[in-house]
Amino acid sequence: MTSCLTLQERAVAINPTRSCAPIGAMLANYGIHGAITINHGSQGCATYPRHQMSRHFREPVEVATTSLTEKTTVYGGKQNLLAALKNVWERFHPTMIMVCSTCLSETIGDDIPAIIDEFLDKHPDVKIPILSVKTPSYVGNHTTGFDNFLKEIALNLPDRRKKKGETNGKINIIPGWVNPGDIRELKHMLREMGLHGLWITDYSETLDGGYYNPRPHFPRGGTTVEELRSSSKSLATIALQRYIGGEAARIYERRYNVPAHVLTMPIGLKNTDAFVNTLIEITDHTIPESLEVERARLLDALVDAHMYTTGLRVALYGDPDLLEGLVGLIAEMGMTPAYILTAADNRPWGERMVELTEELGVESEIILKGDLHELHKRIKQRPVDLLIGHSKGRFIAEAENIPLVRVGFPVEDRFGHHRRSIVGYNGAIALVDEITNTIFERRATTIVSNTLIETGVEGPTSVPIALRNGATARG
């Protein structure tokens, strides 16, 4: 089994799998109770991400903008940012303000931290933290914005320990770019183990809230600023995505002496075991009966499903961390992740994925700087049985008549995906169920190729299958 690494060369990106940095910072900031984002740039830079998040979470999403115009582009956006800070403070009294930049404000060179300092000087009554996060769209992608936000949190919010060994007894958990359902599943696991997590950050309720009468001023839930201040006194930090939060975890280690554990996203049995083992290692707690039962149930589901899933070729696309975790479960299900495509230009990740896939005994092409059009072309050349990724892959799914299992962000054409979980033992069970059911549905209507019998059979992947109307088709 040999995997290979390809770098997409085309200059033009056609149907990108990724979006841009500010949305990552906005999303992460939603995990802090009562925090408000000010986006320093054109109005579209706030409105577009808001709209995107609304479509995914089906929740009201509010982000302030400094509404830069031509004049401010020439003379600088300082006055607009000062006014925005004042207006947001006076109207909302938030617990924290996060100012994220844009292409526009970065290119014209506004010194956001200095403007924030000036605001705080003028308004001594404002005692809340105001954080500046660099999120120009031309650097990295949406995950970069999330990661930069976490780094700023780690650098700016925690108090120093007053004395050596002072602890809050909690474990910092940085889930990364996941869904509210995922955070709730991780919380469940910690609860079962009798541990207390300090979530950096926690949008499990703020972006999947209930209907309350009256409506709370700020959405219920979220990590409080006070909790974040004490995050320097935690027992350890576990980052569950390497490129979102990995660096923040290392900052906690370097600055506050909180040991860092940077893990693969806990999707599938082995990745989840690694997470649980890390918790055990940190705390000396044992794995509780309830989690053992969940774990056994996952194994049982994998056994029950294996004759339907083994040997299928799958295309995966999305963010590096999600893909790294997913590959684990896909391999455990006996499927081959034929194409693993990410938009990031991240060679170390690509090389590790080559090693990982080879270790897992699967043969993959890992495509860096890729877009969905490239993936479509690959699939046309050599089809797959299943697509796994966010909603934007639906165009390939429709064109090639290949089912799409939706994970990641954004999922805008299905209902309630943000409530689901794909992490932990329960998340993996749910995903195994969904993938297997997708295959069942497929089998009932058209085809599912089993590429193990591909050799020697004419055609791209599979044997000809009779359709209901009597015609034959190939996968």
Binding site: V12, G44, T47, P49, V88, S137, Y138, N141
Partner: protein, 476 residues
């Protein structure tokens, strides 16, 4: 109405007015009319406005079905503007594909012109059947001084098809409205009139300012065709580049969205002498009037009466039935611009009254039309922001809120029935037939059992840790 949320924002008062007795409007700051509009947003007020790029790429250029939609800039602008607005056509290339030069840091430092040229060539090579390349400029590429116009010219020579360059950088203007204008001007300058077809165009029209949201055209195009008219181009719902090239041949332009597309009608009038009429293609009376006005221009009055009579006979019973169920409901409409005044009459036909009206980017002419039509005592707001909308929903408690998807979940969280007027819940809503869809959606929204459930059974948020709206304390 004094907004509590505006106590610290006195400048917002000039954007808020009440229609007083005798149709006179009274502005929130005590001065006489007119309502302040089309001016820069107050920074940090949580506006719902978008950017010029959004108006140009998303509204005007995006629906053109056989053009490569290439964004010159970083990835986000292209990602967010891709595929969410249902401006449908009889093909779906424009919905399925988005192209972007994907500017990275190196490009920002060293310039993106080469990458733009290469991108146009590559995109064209991947999709050789596309009829043109539409290039949209963004904030960052404008700031670094890329000469996109020049690159577009070079590219045009290389690929042998139009490369249309839109200077629609997000920071220009105060809202997406300028993007519409730029879209109109650029398409007019670079495409319209570039081909001179042979034939008789004496009974032909363009439908200007319809974007075929959820197939709106299916509700009214057959009516114009029934008059014996030929539709050359739509601007820009379900339109091809070739249609745009010959749209100057039409005998008459009928202008539907008078905010985003009157520009091109004016330019065609000036350059080609093409007359235009303003129409509203939503609602029974308005649709009938649109057909009558169009027919009058061509001397087809009798035919129009036949068509109208046939359609009204078919549709009116449904409308009457819905009016029974909707009578007396009070509505808050918040749309981009013209839909607000397009729908005041439509809602009256359903027995409902618009009590609050707001637009994101309306200009003076839009507000004049609103004040002419709306009932006395109605509240009119320009460019409302999230806290203002929340206050209207909680204090005025309209029976129905008609707005867009960004506002939907705020309305839901406050227990206010909502219909998506931007991209429609089911749709299409235009024409005679579409009005039945609109009425049915309103009926569904108003009478869904869920409202009874939440109004009677919802409970307060459980934790005392979090402040309840209206109280001064924020403990955490």
């Amino acid at each position: 109405m004094q907004f509590k949320c505006n106590q610290t924002l006195p400048e917002r008062a000039s954007h808020i007015a009440i229609k007083g007795p005798g149709g006179k409007c009274q502005r929130g700051d005590g001065t006489a009319c007119f309502i302040a509009n089309n001016v820069a947003t107050t920074p940090g007020d949580m506006t719902e406005r978008g950017c010029t790029y959004a108006g140009c790429r998303g509204v005007v250029g995006g629906p053109v079905k056989d053009a490569i939609q290439l964004t010159h800039g970083p990835i986000g602008c292209a990602f967010f503007s891709w595929g969410y607005r249902p401006h449908l056509a009889d093909s779906d290339f424009h919905m399925k594909y988005t192209f972007v030069t994907d500017m990275n840091e190196t490009n920002i430092v060293f310039g993106g012109e080469k990458k733009l040229l290469q991108s146009i060539i590559e995109a064209n090579a991947e999709f050789p059947n596309a009829k043109a390349v539409f290039v949209y400029n963004t904030c960052s590429t404008a700031l670094i001084g890329d000469d996109g116009r020049d690159v577009a010219k070079q590219a045009e020579a290389i690929i042998g098809k139009p490369v249309v360059f839109f200077e629609c950088e997000g920071f220009r203007g105060v809202s997406q409205s300028l993007g519409h204008h730029i879209g109109n001007e650029t398409i007019f300058r670079q495409l319209v009139g570039s081909v001179e077809p042979e034939g008789d165009f004496s009974r032909s029209i363009n439908i200007i300012g319809d974007y075929n949201i959820k197939n709106d055209i299916r509700t009214f195009e057959y009516l114009f065709e029934a008059l014996g008219l030929r539709i050359i181009a739509r601007f820009t719902g379900n339109v091809s580049v070739d249609d745009l090239k010959i749209m100057h041949k039409a005998a008459l332009n009928i202008v539907h969205c008078q905010r985003s597309a009157t520009y091109i009608a004016d330019m065609m009038k000036e350059k080609y002498g093409t007359p235009y009429i303003n129409v509203t293609l939503w609602g029974m009376k308005n649709m009938a009037k649109a057909l009558r006005d169009t027919a009058a221009f061509f001397g087809l009055e009798a035919r129009a009466e036949e068509v109208i009579a046939r359609e009204v006979a078919r549709i009116q019973p449904y409308i009457d039935a819905y009016r029974q169920r909707l009578q007396g409901k009070r509505v808050f409409i918040y749309q981009g611009g013209p839909r607000v005044w397009h729908w005041i009459e439509l809602l009256r036909e359903l027995g409902m009254e618009t009590e609050t009206a707001a637009t994101t980017f309306g200009h003076t002419d839009d507000y004049e039309k609103i004040f002419n039509q709306i009932a006395e005592g109605a509240l009119v707001i320009d460019n409302p922001n999230v806290p203002e909308i929340e206050e209207i929903l909680t204090r005025r408690r309209p029976d129905l809120f008609i707005s867009g998807n960004k506002e939907r979940y705020l309305a839901y969280k406050l227990g206010v029935p909502f219909v998506n007027g931007h991209t429609y819940d089911t749709g299409p809503y235009a024409g005679f037939v579409g009005m039945v869809n609109f009425a049915r959606d309103i009926d569904k929204a108003l009478h869904a059992p869920v409202w009874n459930l939440v109004h009677r059974y919802a409970r307060p948020a459980p934790a005392a840790r979090y402040a309840v709206h209206g109280s001064e304390e924020v403990e955490s």
